[in-house]
């Protein structure tokens, strides 16, 4: 496309680059310098010291355990979503029954429910079930809130499978079960990877459920660890930012190796 350069938009994009880039620079620089250097020379200056203490310090204050907990929560949430959503999406796309369409409408309604809305009764339910301060108590609601968007994403992907393929399999007398495993699952890999990334992001970044449903160090997740670090050692800014950078490393890795899936997963997150 041959067009003259758009100076106005170009200038605007540079301003935005500054708005996004400066904080990111300050953050990275702060984590690699000593606390004294940061305090004396100010956040925007060029560091004149180099240290990795801010990263090791994060582990000393318990982030190793928090990472492990978050990993457990994330893995279990992905497991539940992968177990429940593919059959659901398959039914949504292929079943012609009224019950299925009622169930589908239930999930569409669920898209509009924010976690804040149910947090009070969730606290009651989880406490009554004896799951307070237990990772399972975080996993179950987090997984439940991943379902509506995952169902929408995956049924969208499954709808792209051409009806002729089903018909061909039906001619061979294939059962719904066989079609599911031999046709639907292999052909929805793109959608499956999107819902895995989407649920992983929800679990990894989740804050409200852990905040309200856990309290001890042994069940703390990373986001909650950041919040506690900030309230307890708020003046150790380089240490705090080291923990922030560590918390984004796994997502950065996904970004580097599975950029498309991450972007699609993120678009799902915005739907919350």
């Amino acid at each position: 496309m041959r067009r003259r350069p758009n100076y106005l938009a170009g200038a605007g994009s540079l301003v935005w680059l500054f708005v996004v880039g400066l904080p990111l620079y300050v953050m990275l620089a702060a984590t690699l310098r000593t606390r004294q250097d940061y305090a004396e020379n100010g956040p925007v200056s060029i560091p004149d010291s180099f240290t990795l203490d801010n990263y090791t310090g994060a582990f000393d204050s318990g982030f190793g355990q928090y990472f492990l907990n978050t990993l457990v929560v994330t893995a279990c949430v992905i497991g539940i979503v992968l177990l429940l959503v593919p059959p659901l999406a398959y039914a949504i796309v292929r079943s012609r029954g009224r019950t299925t369409s009622a169930i589908f409408r239930l999930f569409l309604l669920g898209l509009a429910i924010p976690a804040q809305a149910v947090i009070v009764p969730m606290f009651y339910l989880i406490s009554e079930a004896g799951l307070y301060d237990n990772l399972l108590g975080v996993i179950l609601p987090t997984a439940a809130f991943c379902l509506p968007m995952s169902a929408l994403i995956l049924s969208g992907a499954m709808r792209d499978i051409s009806p002729e393929l089903y018909e061909a399999m039906a001619m061979d007398g294939a059962s719904p079960m066989r079609m599911f495993f031999q046709l639907v699952m292999p052909l929805s890999r793109g959608g499956l990877s999107t819902i895995v990334v989407f649920s992983a992001l929800q679990a990894w970044n989740g804050f409200l459920f852990p905040l309200v449903l856990t309290q001890s160090d042994s069940t703390k997740v990373v986001t909650l660890g950041l919040y506690n670090f900030q309230t307890e050692h708020g003046i150790d800014i380089p240490g705090l930012l080291g923990a922030v950078v560590l918390s984004m490393v796994p997502i950065l890795l996904v970004y580097l190796f599975a950029r498309r899936a991450l972007v699609r997963g993120l678009m799902g997150v915005g739907g919350k």
Partner: protein
């Protein structure tokens, strides 16, 4: 992309016309899964999302301190909320922050998205940097900005010519400014992605036709690009509104609702009442009000914009 979220709706589910079709032949009836396939997910979801939603309505008519059993108190919570000046202020603050979010982020992300939709190489590189805030959780973003804006060791302390005494959290106006700015920093990249995708989908023939008619860049932008982005704009705005109404972490971490109760928005007030003052009945009432408000506002946006009629932006193209 996000179009999945919205465009999937009308087409989704067993098709409406299905029942009116002639009886299916054996070949098409065979091999359709029964509703049992959907059941496990439905039960799980009903248990951990729908049941709590019903319970929040019930709890809003009860008093509960988190220890003894809940007791019915009728409209008590609701009448207390009506008379609570902090609650009324929190509604205005929530609306203010939501409106600020939409008004600031929409033009910004439209311009950035349309710009990034071009295929020059520098745009691809810059887009990668724009994208980085999306890799941070809401918690991380709030913690980061709390540190960067620290009154003693942060950026404002360095630039007193711009920020005065450097304590942006000490006054209502600047504290609200901080919340609006952090939300913009956090969410603009996401909405930029939406508009970037939508701008790339605008048919090239429209621009070629406009060029032949002698329309300049800005006329093309206002008469072709913007109208073509209409559906994405509605999706994006609904997400902004819902996100604005449910803002929580940012307030908890950046301002704790302060100074005083000057930035206590409804979602934070709900948390404060339920989990700091252990007045769960009031908390439930605020939560219910939030859901109702979010739903009504989304419905109004959809109605007013005619989005439910799904007017195609492709009209007159093919």
């Amino acid at each position: 992309m996000t179009t999945q979220i919205t465009s999937a709706r009308p087409a989704a589910g067993p098709r409406k016309g299905a029942r009116r079709r002639p009886p299916a032949s054996n070949a098409t009836r065979v091999g359709r899964p029964s509703f049992a396939w959907a059941l496990p997910a439905a039960v799980f979801f009903a248990l951990f999302a729908i049941a709590p939603l019903v319970m929040v309505a019930v709890l809003s008519f009860m008093t509960w301190d988190g220890i003894s059993s809940p007791e019915f108190v009728g409209m008590d919570n609701w009448s207390r909320l009506m008379d609570d000046p902090v609650m009324l202020d929190s509604i205005w603050l929530t609306l203010l922050l939501t409106v600020l979010g939409v008004v600031i982020q929409t033009p910004l992300s439209v311009v950035l998205g349309v710009w990034a939709a071009g295929n020059q190489r520098n745009r691809a590189v810059l887009s990668v940097i724009y994208f980085i805030p999306l890799l941070l959780s809401a918690t991380a973003v709030s913690v980061l900005w709390r540190a960067l804006l620290d009154p003693n060791f942060g950026i404002p302390a360095e630039a007193t010519w711009l920020f005065g005494d450097g304590n942006l959290f000490g006054k209502q106006a600047t504290a609200i400014g901080v919340l609006a700015f952090v939300a913009t920093w956090q969410f603009t990249p996401f909405h930029t992605l939406i508009y970037q995708g939508a701008a790339r989908a605008v048919p090239e023939v429209l621009y070629q036709a406009a060029e032949i008619d002698g329309a300049g860049r800005y006329r093309q932008f206002f008469h072709i690009t913007l109208p073509q982005l209409r559906n994405s704009m509605i999706t994006s705005m609904i997400l902004m509104v819902v996100g604005g109404l449910t803002t929580f972490e940012t307030v908890l971490i950046l301002t704790q609702g302060g100074p005083g109760t000057d930035t206590t928005i409804s979602a934070y007030y709900m948390y404060d009442k339920a989990f700091q003052s252990f007045d769960f009945g009031i908390g439930a009432a605020i939560a219910l009000a939030l859901v109702v408000a979010a739903t009504i506002i989304s419905l109004i946006v959809v109605r007013v914009s005619g989005y439910d009629k799904m007017r195609s932006t492709m009209e007159g193209v093919s």
